[in-house]
Symmetry: C2
Subunit: 303 residues, 2 copies
């Protein structure tokens, strides 16, 4: 709960796997206790885990699935084993999901492209090779020469700290820019397309993702360039009609002011620090999931 | 030269006044030397000052004006006095310019508005009350209740470090956001207009300003909201036909990576760090100068 709440574990799929593993580990440690106490405590932990981040639908989904695995068990010990098997399955499915997204996403890219991405959606955000970055990894495996522009992703700098590090290790050329520089690069023709992840996808294709995503989508749209979203099917929340009903987590202002020299004169300065924004479906060229490449108009009511 | 080059003095008008004062001070200290040596040295200093920042047109303009003040003088001493008087005049004109921009700019605002601004264009950027912020200061003097959204302005955080501080001291409500959060605020109807400064304005109204400006302009445009530029007349460079011919200063990548934990693992990460971007004239609702409020289509060839 602490690691998820402070973003030590971040990236919707990684959050889901971590929550699943966490709940299974707690169940394993508690399996010796009385069945009623066991049931009560795993429900309590599940509730804490479910609320450790408000936006990620994978989190709720993974916790509920591990919890459900316990329901038919004859004993706490058996329940804990079933929960652990389910958590392992979520991890393995996550790896397969990444590979599937990567293969489909790579089909949208071409040799020589410069690809903008935002935040971190790679191996550090999943149990596998990532979501949006999976497309880039698979394209690289196929021999395409890509250049990646990683927007630094204020306030927590997942772009410069995580994405640039991951891609650099993989030998994929990557350049970090501030969010403010992205429009200028589009204007000068230095970006060919944009691919990002998603924290939650509504039934109509509206996408909640890391703050700053909407800006990239609007600017790509103005420049008539493709804007792709790559995310697991589990990110699609069929219970959410559109982006307007997605609750956006407001995070502490200290995340923004913390780097500004930590100056005493900033005490009391008001900050708005929404963690996510909602990109309306019409701005999205395609949504790539492990089940296929979806094009507008989106309708995920049957998924 | 050092203070301007490292951005200790920043803001196009303040840079102009500082360069003028610097050249006058050097001339005063050197006035005892031989006339030929004096002439040679002030030309040398003028050249150093002129090139201490590549984009600001005020810098070149102020240095050339102080240099010209020396041309008809009978002695180095007399020249130094004339140069000092010219530097003083540039400072006084800058103060009057700020007031004039503020009065005209305030006419574009209305009670209750939430105004987005970028970078710092206030008392810390000029010898007076600023340019874009002057409009906000004068509106505040007139009793209008404004809320200001200050985008933090990566990489050097002039929005959170300077603008929030200035406005807070003046008792004007101000909220800091990252550049990435701006689109989301526009989408939710939480911004009524945007007003920014300018480092250089081309003859056709294209505006070079702090990196991130173009993004705000595009997003304001998509949301059909006014985007204003407020700057001294001296910012208009009639020799520059359009934004395409404005040289954009590339600054060190360390400005971007420096805050990312200063981590060793970021060594070697490529960074693009353009200091300015160019907002095309059609995105600008009005350009406010000390000589008037200009509306598109802009034609500054006769200014």
């Amino acid at each position: 709960v602490d690691a998820i709440g402070t973003l030590s574990v971040r990236g919707a799929p990684a959050v889901g796997v971590a929550a699943a593993m966490g709940l299974a580990a707690l169940a394993g440690a508690s399996a010796a206790s009385h069945p009623d106490l066991f049931r009560e405590s795993i429900r309590h932990w599940a509730s804490l885990l479910r609320h450790s981040r408000p936006t990620a639908v994978n989190l709720r989904w993974a916790v509920d699935r591990v919890l459900a695995a316990a329901s038919d068990s004859a004993s706490p010990h058996e329940a804990a084993l079933a929960m652990r098997a389910t958590a392992d399955a979520i991890r393995d499915e996550d790896r397969a999901m990444c590979r599937s997204i990567g293969e489909r996403g790579a089909d949208l890219l071409a040799d020589g492209m410069t690809v903008l991405t935002h935040c971190n959606t790679g191996a550090l955000a999943t149990a596998g090779i990532g979501t949006a970055l999976a497309a880039i990894y698979v394209a690289h495996e196929r021999g395409m020469r890509l250049n990646v522009i990683a927007s630094e992703t204020r306030p927590l700098l997942q772009g410069s700290r995580l994405t640039a590090w991951e891609l650099g290790r993989a030998g994929i050329p990557v350049t970090v820019v501030t969010e403010g520089a992205v429009a200028s690069l589009f204007q000068r023709g230095q970006i060919d397309c944009c691919i990002v992840g998603a924290d939650r996808i509504a039934r109509n294709g509206d996408v909640a993702n890391k703050i700053g995503t909407l800006s990239h989508a609007l600017i790509a749209h103005v420049h008539n360039l493709p804007f792709y979203v790559a995310a697991p099917r589990s990110t699609i929340d069929v219970a959410t009609a559109d982006g307007g009903s997605i609750h956006i987590e407001d995070r502490p202002g200290a995340e923004v002011l913390g780097i500004a020299g930590a100056s005493a004169h900033l005490a009391g300065v008001a900050v708005l620090n929404p963690a996510f924004d909602v990109t309306p479906a019409p701005l999205i060229t395609a949504i790539v999931t492990d089940s296929g490449v979806h094009r507008p108009p989106y309708d995920f009511s049957r998924d």
